[in-house]
Amino acid sequence: MIEIDLSKSTVRELNQRLHRLDPGTNEANWRVLNPNGAHAIAVGVTVPIEIEIQGHVGYYCGGMNAAANVLIAGHAGTGVAENIMSGTVRVRGNAAQSAAASGRGGLVIIDGDASARCGISMKGVDIVVAGSVGHMSAFMGQAGTLVVCGDAGPGLGDSIYEAEIFVLGKVASLGADCVERALDDAAIARVARLLDAAGIGADSGRFRRYGSARLLYNFHIDHAAQY
């Protein structure tokens, strides 16, 4: 276990050490102490290592992550795991707005609530939120899955493309071109697989499924009022 205390070294020093690691490194377990809300902790890691951050982090923690498993034992600020490519980023507490924004792959788990715009412009990432999500979540989501075990705020899935959303609780309102779809066996299996991967217990058969009505893909004058 390698411990980095951010009250003694800088985020840049930490990230540069992480960036120098080879894929086969023996330095596979890292613990980060005293993050105190600092930004860009453990951004751009490309090797399969375990990173545990003890405390609350600032913006973009675990951004662009590829292959690593990042655990944040605290709350996370704006844009946690933004543009994640693969691996896992888990937040034990709550996440501020734009969690997993533009994520292309991997798994992001929020054990608490996620705020507004969770999964905005998601492009393949899977997101499991044990609590609730704020307004405009999965906005313009292109691919991937957002699973919400609590409630969803207004404008869920606004202008969504081919991402899929599953919500166990109440949805305040759906955004433009987002509609409810039938929960078929394949969808139930998809939710069950993600809940299992996240280690979160919930009945996959009780979720409601939302996706695109595909009316806004191309401009059509009959739909002008929906833009």
Partner: protein, 299 residues
């Protein structure tokens, strides 16, 4: 960008922790707003019938003793004046309108940055440590305080355009964001008798709350009315004599974090400002919801 911070102790008794803790919070927000720094601190009460005013002169070598002698002959001073270079805190046996009229006639170069029973306002171009050090924030006690670091978008980088804006008795506001209907609103509020020092958008929001409070609204009701009347992006932190409130616009465009313990409530644009407070690790921490007023009032 901009950074805003607020710290509200729940106890009635002023604490010497307030000044140093707010200075530490502001330091963390320096990168978000390197243009200017300002703070409002709610400290000792003015004597009964007294008006505590925070005055600003265009020159840091201003002759405040001469000023005090001259104004004291017209409007009696209650206690000694406290000069801080370009700023001075002066307590007078006078009404705000009397002070305003006297300054306009005799010392038009002096601006009133804050007035009331408890509020003191300091703001200047520069980074947090320079400004808070200049005005001795680290040595100040009080019950609650607000601060702001500014990255200007809507109006000029000057001391006058810095936050907080204090347009009413013991009322002040700091803002992260920008308003788009402030010119028309300013004209309407001027007709209602609200005074403005600048063309700044945030000053209009402060003036709007002053007007609503003068109609007898509670701070919470005034902020709920603001949701309908102010157009733009905002996270506001508002201070009153014994109260503290937060409001974000309906799409929560600008960031905000709230934290609460048994002793205090803190608000900041980013958590790293709150992380400097004693007990922050065990505080209840959450992101305020859009279009929702959070208000605390000391009884």
């Amino acid at each position: 960008m901009c950074g805003i911070v607020g710290l509200f102790f729940k106890a009635r008794m002023a604490t010497p922790l307030l000044g140093p803790l707010l200075a530490g919070m502001l330091r963390e927000m320096g990168e978000r707003g390197p243009d200017s720094t300002g703070f409002a601190i709610y400290g000792d009460d003015a004597p009964p019938g007294g008006l505590k005013t925070s005055l600003h002169a265009p020159d840091s070598a201003y002759d405040w003793p001469a000023f005090a002698a001259e104004i004291g002959a017209a409007l009696p001073l209650l206690g000694p004046m406290r000069p801080y270079g370009s700023h001075a805190v002066v307590t007078l046996a006078a009404k705000h309108d009397d002070l305003h009229a006297w300054l306009a006639q005799h010392r038009p170069e002096i601006a009133i940055f804050g007035f009331g029973e408890r509020i003191e306002v300091f703001k200047e171009v520069g980074l947090p440590d320079a400004v808070t050090g200049r005005f001795g924030l680290g040595q100040r006690n009080g019950t609650h305080a607000l601060g702001h670091t500014r990255m200007a978008t809507e109006s000029a980088v000057t001391t006058e355009h810095s936050h907080p804006f204090a347009t009413g008795i013991d009322l002040c506001l700091v803002h992260n964001g920008s308003l788009s209907n402030h010119n028309r609103l300013r004209r309407n509020l001027e007709r209602e008798g609200i005074r403005f020092l600048t063309d700044n958008d945030t000053e209009v929001a402060s003036g709007y709350l002053t007007w609503r409070l003068s109609q007898g609204m509670s701070l919470k009701a005034a902020l709920e009315a603001a949701l309908g009347d102010l157009d733009g992006f905002y996270t506001f932190a508002v201070g009153t004599r014994d109260g503290f409130a937060i409001l974000r616009d309906p799409i929560a465009c600008k960031p905000a974090v709230l934290a609460e313990t048994d002793e205090w409530v803190a608000m900041a644009t980013e958590y790293r400002a709150i992380a400097t407070l004693p007990g922050a690790k065990d505080a209840r921490i959450w992101e305020p919801r859009p279009a929702t007023v959070y208000a605390w009032q000391r009884q």
